[in-house]
């Protein structure tokens, strides 16, 4: 069987959303949608799974909290006890209040950076990487839907092409790969 990828281009996000709904209703899986901005309500239509970025963020922040407390303990308690305003300096727990702002900041720092880096890697949008969007205009004013025959093995390429054409895309391209 030939392996094909279809790219349907629309000039409006609402048009793409309606088309996606029609195509999904016909039993076709949409692989990906490329858009210059997030399209509201597209996720449940094309079946995007809930992001796990939040879980990552929590783990990164937890790492930050632990690292900050460990660091504070080593620098200010264990290695060289620091006298902060006459507060007890031989125990972390009695002095933890002074370290809270730093711990908070470091948690946020680790959470935010970890999340950004994960996001860039997962999306393949690290600066310098080659873009994988099928058409440069999907970063400007066009909305592109990607459907592959691999994901829709129960249908022939012609059927898929016909169903997509029935939604009147501005442009429909087929490519073998």
């Amino acid at each position: 069987m030939e392996r094909k990828v279809f790219h349907a281009m629309y000039d409006d996000d609402d048009k793409l959303k309606e088309a996606a709904q029609l195509i999904v209703d016909k039993g076709i899986r949409i692989k990906e949608v490329f858009s210059p901005f997030p399209i509201h309500g597209i996720d449940p239509i094309i079946g995007v799974k809930r992001t796990r970025l939040a879980i990552c963020a929590f783990m990164y922040a937890l790492t930050g909290t632990s690292l900050a407390l460990l660091g504070m303990w080593y620098f200010m308690i264990s290695d060289w006890p620091m006298n902060i305003g006459g507060k007890p300096n031989q125990s972390l727990i009695d002095n933890v209040t002074s370290f809270l702002p730093v711990t908070f900041e470091f948690s946020v720092l680790c959470g935010a950076h970890g999340m950004s880096i994960t996001y860039l890697l997962r999306n393949g949008t690290v600066p310098g990487m080659i873009a994988d969007n099928p058409h440069p205009r999907s970063t400007n004013d066009r909305f592109i839907m990607e459907v592959t025959t691999d994901e829709n093995s129960s249908m022939s390429a012609d059927d898929i092409s016909k169903i997509i054409s029935s939604t009147n895309p501005e442009e429909l391209s087929e490519k073998e790969y």
């Binding site: 305003g85 209040t97 809270l100 702002p101």
Partner: protein, 424 residues
């Protein structure tokens, strides 16, 4: 569609109010050996009065905020907010005014800067056993002696903290809040019968004026009514701390009321996205409150200056357990329970954590007032929760009663359509 006050809700609120009356009678006859002249009862009245006044005031603030920021999603819930503030602000102003009159007439000593013995230069000692001494600033008065008990700090604060100016401020705050509350409500109902956006634009402008006034008053009212209890002590974060407390209690109240009304079918177009947004406010403002509370504590803890530390010392020594439990409830519970998206869309989670945080903030207001008025001698007994429940009953009764007075969903609000299609 107007709200129908069900018999069950009516009976429940009336029973709560009856419990409150029992609580008030119990409070007036309480036998705390360290309690002079019903100080504990009056302090508790201030706690309850301010707690519910703050919820209503938070409602008025949030309502004005929706207009000033031209918010669309919440226009479905406009009448819920109105119901919370428009009868309750006047009612609980009255409770506060009763406490303040009693303080000014020295029936209680909540505000000890009102005691002339703290600021007068001279004293005329009582000649008859059992009578009170009189105080004066006039050195020529017969029998006047130098007042050795004068409190220099309070005397220096006299320019701001004197009964006349204090009452003038109090009346201005209450007058402004009541006037704006009534005005918003009136115009909102008028809008139901009118087309166009004339009234909406008018309310948009007025709400901005209100917010400017509120920005000042929310700080100064907390200094005047609460911070001046601990007269020697002051904190510049105090106003924000109290303000964030009133905001979060209102958000919880609004969430619970919205869930109740939606279950009863009076808010048919309110969907999970609205509930999610309310949950976000609950979560977010809980964090704001915790943040401000921690900032205030950290600065004082860090500097370790005797005049400042005394505030927390009193609280940790005599109210350590409620203080810690309160912080856990008000910060850890919303942080862990309400962080997840699904939790904010789940009525069970919202109601449970909401009720807990409401109780937590009651303890918070209690800890703002009691350590200053009762010092280490307050004794939490059965009549105090009953009083709280009584005022809760009154608050809910007035709220539900005002829901019956107008269509539950505004008819001609320009954003009503946007709100119906709210989806996040």
């Amino acid at each position: 569609m107007n709200f129908v006050f069900s018999k069950r809700a009516k009976i429940t609120t009336l029973v709560l109010m009856a419990l409150g009356v029992i609580g008030i009678i119990g409070g007036l006859n309480s036998h705390n050996p360290h309690d002079h002249g019903g100080q504990e009862f009056w302090s508790n009245l201030l706690v309850c009065g301010f707690y519910f006044f703050a919820i209503a005031l938070g409602g008025l603030f949030f309502y004005a905020l929706q207009y000033a920021a031209e918010v669309g999603w919440s226009s479905q819930l406009k009448r819920v907010f109105e119901g919370i503030f428009h009868r309750n602000i006047p009612a609980f102003s009255l409770v506060l005014v009763i406490v303040f009159i009693a303080s000014t007439l020295h029936v209680n000593h909540i505000y000890h800067w009102m005691d002339p013995g703290t600021y007068s230069e001279f004293v005329i000692p009582a000649t008859v056993e059992g009578e009170h001494s009189t105080y004066t600033d006039n050195a020529e008065a017969t029998g006047a002696q130098v007042n050795l008990g004068i409190d220099k700090i309070i005397k220096n604060k006299r320019a701001y903290l004197n009964e006349g100016f204090w009452w003038a401020r109090t009346l201005v705050y209450l007058g402004v809040f009541i006037w704006f509350g009534n005005w918003f409500r009136k115009k909102s109902i008028e809008e139901d019968a009118l087309d166009g956006t004339t009234l909406h634009v008018k309310m948009f402008k007025r709400s901005a004026i209100f917010l400017a006034l509120f920005a000042v008053f929310s700080s100064t009212l907390s200094w005047d009514w609460l911070m001046s209890i601990d007269t020697h002590w002051f904190s510049t974060m105090y106003g924000w701390y109290v303000f964030s407390g009133m905001w979060v209690t209102f958000m919880i109240f609004a969430t619970i009321a919205t869930l109740y009304l939606r279950d009863k079918g009076f808010l048919p177009k309110v969907n999970d996205s609205h509930i999610h947004d309310l949950g976000k406010w609950m979560f977010g403002i809980s964090m704001l409150w915790s943040y401000l509370g921690l900032c205030q504590f950290l600065l004082i803890w860090y500097a370790d200056i005797g005049e400042e530390v005394i505030y927390y010392q009193q609280r940790f020594e005599n109210y350590g357990l409620p203080l810690i439990v309160m912080c856990i409830i008000n910060f850890v519970v919303p942080f862990l329970v309400l962080m997840a998206r699904d939790a904010k869309r789940n009525p069970v989670f919202l109601r449970l954590s909401g009720c807990l945080i409401l109780i937590g903030h009651y303890v918070d207001v209690y800890l703002l007032v009691m350590p200053g008025t009762m010092h280490g001698h307050s004794h939490y007994s059965w009549w105090q929760p009953l009083m709280f429940l009584g005022f809760l009953g009154l608050f809910v009764y007035l709220m539900l009663n005002s829901f019956t007075k107008a269509a539950m969903v505004p008819v001609n609000h320009p954003f009503i359509d946007e709100s119906e299609h709210h989806s996040i």
